[in-house]
């Protein structure tokens, strides 16, 4: 008698094979595969999986937890195109500066001009001073009004102290201000309580010739935590475009601190500050190599006060000073005060309102510039935002506006309306319309005192979803119309300057970004991303500009993509790979390129770890960006490797 496979599958056919022996019951096999598939598909509700109370204490101890932090819960409800670079992302990227970290965000265009100069923007219109981007460190605005951009070379802090970087593409919420036309980058550092103990980092490579950080964190009394750090790096010259050495090497020494005091259950005060000094070689046009001493410092204090469970306030005061002796030779002092009150009104409304004042004064040597040698600038701003729960936990509408006053163009009103719909805990749709303005930089206004604000209206929509426990996808689309964009016009002779600025260009940009996080297996995760952006600009009738349309349309890549992979090879060894593809830049002639970074990290003990990182390994000597305004020369990015030791005690 032939036996049947009856235990698992009774439906399976079991024809007696004609030549004796037994055939495998295909029906049973299929049923088993189906069961395997069912059990491994993560979307099925948790109840189908193991009962945690039946695990032994040892097994519970070894269960890895994936907690959705409060921040992630909040971000998943944010009606904006937001990307968060976490501390883990930062450690795995192998990046040694903040601009390289930003490459992983789809929609952020990062192009390194030379060893110490970057062109970074969000959704197009890139340039050395991209004025459509707002950058904050712990709430403090770090842009320089001289050219209306960010000095990325002096934006340098120990990357190990960064808790996360929130990147919002698009005008963001109205709590951000002018300059947040295309995006906001908010760098948030870890609280002092999170960086206790000592940390020593030291490394060297062919490009980063020597770098290190020494940091110590401890407690003072019962309710204060602090950390103190010092950081140094020395970067070699990159190759020049035509061959030879690029003269863009630089070194910077920085020291800083942070203290957090929980004064009572309701008050928390944070002090942060740093001082830096260094030298930077700057290859300036046409063929001058300048050695620029850099120095500066910042001190800021933030007071958070809890009024009640439904209301809290924040007051931030900061002072900043910097000195750069490049062709401009500028010394700038800035003082800023910002206040914010957040409260819940009734059952359904979440209101934030606030105001701020910023005073900045600069001294420049005006031989090659139109900027007056001594210039003060004041900016007043106020904002109001109300998030209304139309259908609690499901539909939220956020209305807000920002009001700003600057001495060049007077008042600016920037309203925004956003709506989000969360049909389930795993999906979210959002849409927004906002108006944003960019106040003129000192340079713009010095050339043309009647220069108006450049404006934009952004229409955005997006979708976020979590599929199972291992895959999350974020899609964002945008359509932005630009108005009063800057054009360069010839001046009617006779005149001191050969050109002037006017606002005679308008146009539109559209595109979309996709970012995903996929936990392929317990040990391997992948983060792919892709961005598409296209810009069309047009001149208004009397304009005689010959370059701005081409520059604005072609200064950012149409396509860009990236994939980051992280593998835990063993419990103490991990391997990270990041590949970036950037399309060619039509303006400036930088060709398309692929960048490959990879790093291997060994955790020898809980305290000691070492990593070896290779950067830009794909193509040696490639050009990323040519500055059309012609202020600095470009050099070529080259293959580099470094090794780094980290000791925490």
């Amino acid at each position: 008698m032939r036996e049947r496979i009856g235990v698992i599958d009774r439906r399976g056919e079991s024809e007696p094979p004609s030549n004796g022996g037994r055939r495998v019951n295909t029906g049973a096999v299929l049923a088993q595969m189906a069961m395997l598939l069912l059990l491994s598909f993560p979307a099925w509700p948790q109840a189908a999986l193991v009962d945690l109370t039946s695990l032994s204490l040892e097994d519970l101890m070894n269960t890895k937890v994936s907690s959705v932090s409060k921040t992630e819960k909040k971000l998943s409800r944010t009606a904006s195109a937001i990307f968060v670079i976490t501390a883990a992302d930062i450690a795995r990227s192998g990046a040694t500066n903040i601009p390289d970290l930003l490459r992983m965000v789809p929609g952020v265009d990062v192009a390194q001009i030379n060893g110490n100069t970057w062109a970074i923007s969000v959704r197009g219109l890139n340039g050395q001073f991209s004025h459509e981007l707002l950058v904050l460190v712990d709430g403090r605005n770090v842009y320089t009004p001289t050219f209306g951009g960010v000095l990325w070379d002096t934006l340098d802090l120990p990357l190990e102290d960064i808790e996360r970087i929130e990147v919002i593409r698009g005008p963001g919420a109205t709590v951000w201000g002018a300059n947040a036309v295309n995006g906001v980058i908010n760098i948030i550092t870890k609280k002092a309580a999170q960086t206790q103990g000592g940390m020593l980092v030291a490394g060297a490579g062919n490009l980063d010739q020597g770098f290190g950080t020494a940091q110590y964190g401890g407690g003072l009394g019962k309710n204060t935590n602090y950390r103190v750090f010092t950081k140094y790096f020395n970067q070699d010259h990159l190759p020049a475009a035509g061959g030879g050495v690029g003269f863009d090497g630089w070194h910077l020494l920085r020291g800083g601190f942070r203290t957090d005091s929980q004064l009572s259950g309701k008050d928390n005060i944070t002090f942060e500050g740093d001082l830096y000094a260094g030298h930077e070689n700057s290859p300036e046009t046409p063929n001058i190599n300048v050695k620029v001493p850099l120095s500066g410092g910042v001190l800021s204090s933030t007071w958070d006060h809890v009024v009640s469970a439904r209301s809290d306030t924040r007051l931030q005061i900061s002072f900043d000073r910097y000195k750069r002796n490049d062709i401009l030779t500028e010394t700038r002092h800035t003082a800023a005060v910002d206040f914010q009150h957040h409260y819940l009104w009734g059952d359904r409304q979440d209101i934030v309102w606030g105001g701020g004042y910023r005073f900045t004064t600069s001294n420049t040597v005006a031989t090659l510039s139109s900027i007056p040698p001594h210039l003060n600038m004041q900016l007043f701003s106020a904002f109001f935002q109300d998030e209304v729960a139309l259908v609690p936990e499901r539909v939220y509408v956020t209305l807000g506006t920002k009001l700003e006053h600057n001495q060049y163009t007077g008042f600016n009103l920037m309203p925004s309306a956003r709506v989000s719909w969360t049909p389930s805990t795993r999906q979210m749709f959002w849409a927004a319309i906002s108006r944003a303005e960019r106040t003129p930089a000192e340079f713009d206004n010095s050339v043309s005192p009647n220069f108006k604000d450049e404006g934009a209206i952004a229409y955005e929509a997006g979708y976020r979803t979590t599929i199972g426990r291992d895959l999350s996808i974020d899609v964002a689309t945008f359509y932005t119309t630009y108005d009063h964009q800057r054009t360069t016009e010839p001046t009617p002779a006779p005149a001191a300057l050969l050109f002037t600025f006017q606002n005679l260009m308008h146009g539109e940009a559209h595109g979309f970004e996709i970012a995903a996080n996929w936990k392929v297996t317990d040990r391997w995760s992948l983060s792919p991303g892709y961005a598409f952006e296209q810009i069309h600009m047009h001149l208004k009738a009397p304009s005689q500009d010959t370059s701005s349309v081409f520059e604005d349309e072609g200064s950012s890549p149409v396509h860009s993509a990236q994939v980051r992979s992280h593998v835990n090879l063993r419990h103490d060894v991990s391997w990270d790979v990041s590949v970036y593809f950037v399309d060619r830049l039509k303006s400036g002639g930088a060709p398309a390129y692929t960048r490959l970074d990879t790093g291997l990290t060994w955790r020898w003990t809980e305290a000691l770890s070492m990593s070896v990182v290779g950067q830009d390994l794909w193509k040696d000597r490639h050009l990323e960006f040519v500055d059309n305004a012609g202020r600095v020369r470009s050099t070529l990015m080259k293959r580099s490797v470094y090794a780094k030791l980290t000791w925490q005690f």
Binding site: R22, L39, T53, L57, M61, T63
Partner: protein, 201 residues
Amino acid sequence: MNNPMKRRSALIQWGRGSQWKWLAIRVIVCCLAVVTQAQSATEYQVKAAYLFNFAKFVEWPADTFSGADAPLQICLLGQDPFGHEFEEVIGDKNVNGHRIEVIHPSGVPQARGCQIIFVASSEKGKTPEILRGLRGANVLTVGDTPGFAGIGGIINFVLDDGRVRFEINMKAAERAHLKISARLLTVAKRIVVVDTPTETK
């Protein structure tokens, strides 16, 4: 057996030999899938499972329960971080015959009657007050904020490289007249020996 034909037929022979082997292989593979899935959960699901285990491995004084089938009450003080995960994980389970009940008391006096009190991180500033208010009660106090065990809480959860572990304050357990099984002690990440208890101030 160098002849590939022979090797293949040997395999088929083995496979053919017993349908139980195939069954065993498939069941093992399925179980592997289940087991590998079981290795991850959310933080508060695991903490809920731990609370269930604490109830199993801690001995309360004889007069704590009014009867053999009186419920074992777990109080959550503060903003509840568990949500529905408590019911999902613990459900209707019993510990030593006692049904598990979850209560959300409005204040410390109401919480004194519970066997286990979980102090949520929202109560961070008020923890010393809370522990003072529980002076003398036979309550297992559990928290998940840094320093909880140091000021007199009995068990404190800590996150260690993505895993939930805990530390135990033995002195505080003694003061509450609770006996902690050796099983818990061996698995604890840290035993706090010296503390500055708020109850005795």
